[in-house]
Amino acid sequence: MTVFDRLDALFPPDRVITDPVRLRTYECDGLTYHRATPMVVVLPETTEEIAAVVRVCAEFGVPFVARGSGTGLSGGALPRSDGVLIVTSRMRRILSIDLDQRRAVVEPGVTNLAITEAVRDRGYYYAPDPSSQQICSIGGNVAENSGGAHCLKYGFTVNHVLALEIVTPEGEIIEISEDDFGYDLLGAFVGSEGTLGIATKITVRLMRAPESVTTLLAAFQTIEAGGQAVSAIIGAGIMPAAIEMMDALAIEAAEAAVACGYPAAAGAVLIVELDGPSSEVEAQLAEVIAICVGTGSFEQRVAASADERAKIWKGRKSAFAAVGRISPAYIVQDGVVPRTSLGEVLAGIDALQDEFGIRVANVFHAGDGNLHPLVLFDDTAPGEGERAEIVSGRILDLCILHGGSITGEHGVGVDKARYMPRMFTDDDLDTMQLLRCAFDPGGRSNPGKVFPTPRLCGEVPRVHKGSPGEIF
């Protein structure tokens, strides 16, 4: 018996993929830089099927990787050439919606936006809104603890998931819930990037749609002035739903791609979205506009309708892909700095541009200091790709130097595992490994992600006086 025989027995032929040409289409997720062709792909339709596959993997000592829509930007769903890729894209049923309890239970392959679409006409929505929300799967959101523009006010996936049914790396089906008295396993599982098991049913919180939503576009001469406005807004005790900023280069790209019509000659634009009861929003909008004018904004536009709001967001939402129009190739970086360090870090990025002769467009969630520098390069120019890679890494160093993080929402995946030791000590990482080993002693669930060269679970991470030494 081989793994293939066992999988063939579990699934009809159209749900086990072994043809090499077909397999290769699964070789990467949204980050194409890393590629590996999986040994086999399975398309389960139930929790029990996933559990059965995972048990087969356990039996044969074969690693497995879960994949939803394959839109991740850190290579978190990069397959293993010696492993099984478990694709949840056929598990896309919304199992229940309970508006009285404001919760829904969904399968992992359901897209983020599908949840909102199922309840929108009744005045509810699912709050986390990653830019890829029309396609990214909720299972992937759970793995990555996805955020989005509106997480400034509403928090991340972890704040909106109430319970999970998971298949553990040993193949058990266990429910973990916020109602469980004891360790917050739910909080630890969300964001574990598929290394602790596979979420197979997800209970999410639904929120009542706000009475009023207002979007303001404010243009500034310089990005520093925009940054001051952000600090002043937060300092005034206002908590917008989102504060987004784009610099001149990013504006140029968005203009080229979607003709978003942002004010000409703007060195930076700020998008501020306020939502809530109309009475609150009106009061806050006046204050935000006054702050923007006070910090040097030369033009402000307030969206009066859903269409106008969509128009303002269009430039921002298209920014990543739009950069392709002004540069042959680019790296999307994801780092976080404390909001008060934004100015210094942006100056640091400027210095890097000069030093390496590489252009960087800045698009970011200014409200929570989450930078998405787009490092532009020409992949046909010798050495430019390497220089871009260096600039990209140096930007992360800047983030760490200022007390920030190497990733705010894209995850560590395979891409940033090597940066983890710059942010955490060996003891920190070894302690995280304890959690990993509790869930996955065999190290089969998405190995090679998050942690650089993880130890095996039996290895004693350090010599320590008191504890009886483990041999294995």
Binding site: Q101, G147, C151, F156, V158, N159, I174, E175, I176, D179, D180, F181, G182, Y183, D184, L185, A188, G191, S192, R208, P210, E211, I234, G235, A236, G237, I238, P277, S279, E280, A283, Q284, V336, P338, T340, G369, G403, S405, G408, E409, H410, G411, V412, K416, M420, M423, F424, T425, D428, T431, L435, R436, A438, F439, V450, H464, K465, G466, S467, P468
Partner: protein, 370 residues
């Protein structure tokens, strides 16, 4: 055995008891490093440790099987870093929540947690969380925690998270330790996201017979920060809703229309966020729960998380509740099984085995002898 650590050590007494178990010694470290030294020494001696802060909840959950050392963190009471512009604060675990609130209030900010005990510390609030009204709007302790420093049973110092709100690098050990009742290690420092103190606040309260349904308010777009019920053992219940923001009064008045009555106040009702008495039980139930005679219940109609008090057979009450409900005996005398079903217990056990293989951290305080 601990003398060589250089950390302040004294003998334990009845006042140091954890759920009736008196420790042999009390250690009072003043830094993360001192905690690590004490923990290392305890590891050498095979000593069992229970961390403590304001000691307001040492009687909650099950008593530990043994306590050799009570690790008293009350000397670690400093605000380590508060950058107002970042709305972030980093503190030592022993700082009382009330003291932190005073510091933050000077900058017009607050940690949006409702903690009923004035002496409670940050560490204790994380290790043994208690539900608060505003959790509906701001989340619980685990939702506001963005970074943590813990010391493990063997003295290892580990950090996770950081001091930025948005951060997905590595496992979130902070959340793992939330609700751990000192059974995984010692929470030594914590970093939180803060919120601006709202410009204005109003409470709408009204009396009602039995269990009130707050559905209309929750379906409205008035965005209450909390909707609480005080359901006493006898007499009328009271429902109160909190509105925060410049237009708080306007919204409270609009909510009053919705309920066709009630009074709008600038102060919280006296019972707001207070545990209803003793013995104390934790109740989670998403629909109106059946409440046995002699039991009072307080908590959130919005989140379905309550505290209950009064003597009753927990097993009998559990059987009268819907399947999804969870009832746990927190403190005081109890009849019946303290814990009830905890589906993820097998996983919790494996976590405990990895973090504390010798079972020296508050052993037995949680379900299944964790």
């Amino acid at each position: 055995m601990l003398g060589h650590t250089g950390v302040m050590i004294r003998d334990g007494g009845p006042l140091d008891a954890v759920g009736g178990v008196t420790p042999r010694w009390v250690a009072q470290p003043e830094s993360v490093e001192e905690i690590a030294v004490v923990m290392g020494a305890c590891a050498d001696g095979g000593l069992a440790v229970t961390p403590a802060g304001g000691r307001t909840k040492l009687g909650w959950a099950a008593p530990p099987e043994r306590v050799d050392v009570l690790l008293d963190l009350s000397s670690m009471h400093d605000v380590l870093e508060h950058v107002a512009g970042d709305l972030v604060v980093r503190v030592q675990a022993g700082i009382p929540v009330t003291r932190l609130a005073e510091v933050l209030a000077k900058a017009g900010q607050a940690l949006a947690l409702d903690v009923p005990f004035p002496d409670a510390t940050i560490g204790g609030t994380l290790a043994a969380p208690s539900p608060g009204p505003r959790a509906f709007r701001y989340g619980n302790a685990r939702d506001l925690l963005i970074g943590v420093t813990v010391v493990l049973a063997d003295g290892t110092i580990a950090r996770a998270g950081g001091k930025v709100v948005k951060n997905v690098a590595g496992y979130d050990l902070g959340k793992l330790f939330t609700g751990s009742y000192g059974t995984l290690g010692v929470i030594a420092e914590a970093t939180f996201r803060l919120h601006p103190i709202p410009a204005d606040r109003r409470w709408l309260s009204f009396e009602c017979e039995g269990w009130e349904d707050a559905g209309d308010l929750l379906r409205s777009q008035l965005e209450p920060s909390a909707v609480e019920i005080d359901h006493p053992a006898e007499g009328l219940s009271t429902v109160a809703a909190l509105f925060e923001g410049p237009a708080a009064e306007q919204r409270a008045l609009a909510a009053r229309e919705l309920f066709e009555g009630g009074d709008v106040h600038t102060e919280a009702p006296a019972w707001w966020g207070q545990p209803p008495g003793s013995p104390l039980h934790s109740l989670r139930c998403r629909v109106a729960p059946s409440v046995p005679d002699g039991i009072s219940v307080r908590g959130s109609l919005a989140t379905g998380v309550y505290l209950a008090s009064g003597s009753t057979d927990l097993d009998a009450w559990r059987s009268a509740l819907p399947d999804h409900a969870r009832l746990v005996g927190l403190s005081g005398d109890l009849t019946g099984d303290r814990w009830g079903p905890i589906p993820s217990l097998p996983l919790m056990r494996r976590v405990k085995e990895r973090f504390d293989p010798e079972r020296r951290m508050s052993p037995g305080r949680l379900a299944g002898g964790l």
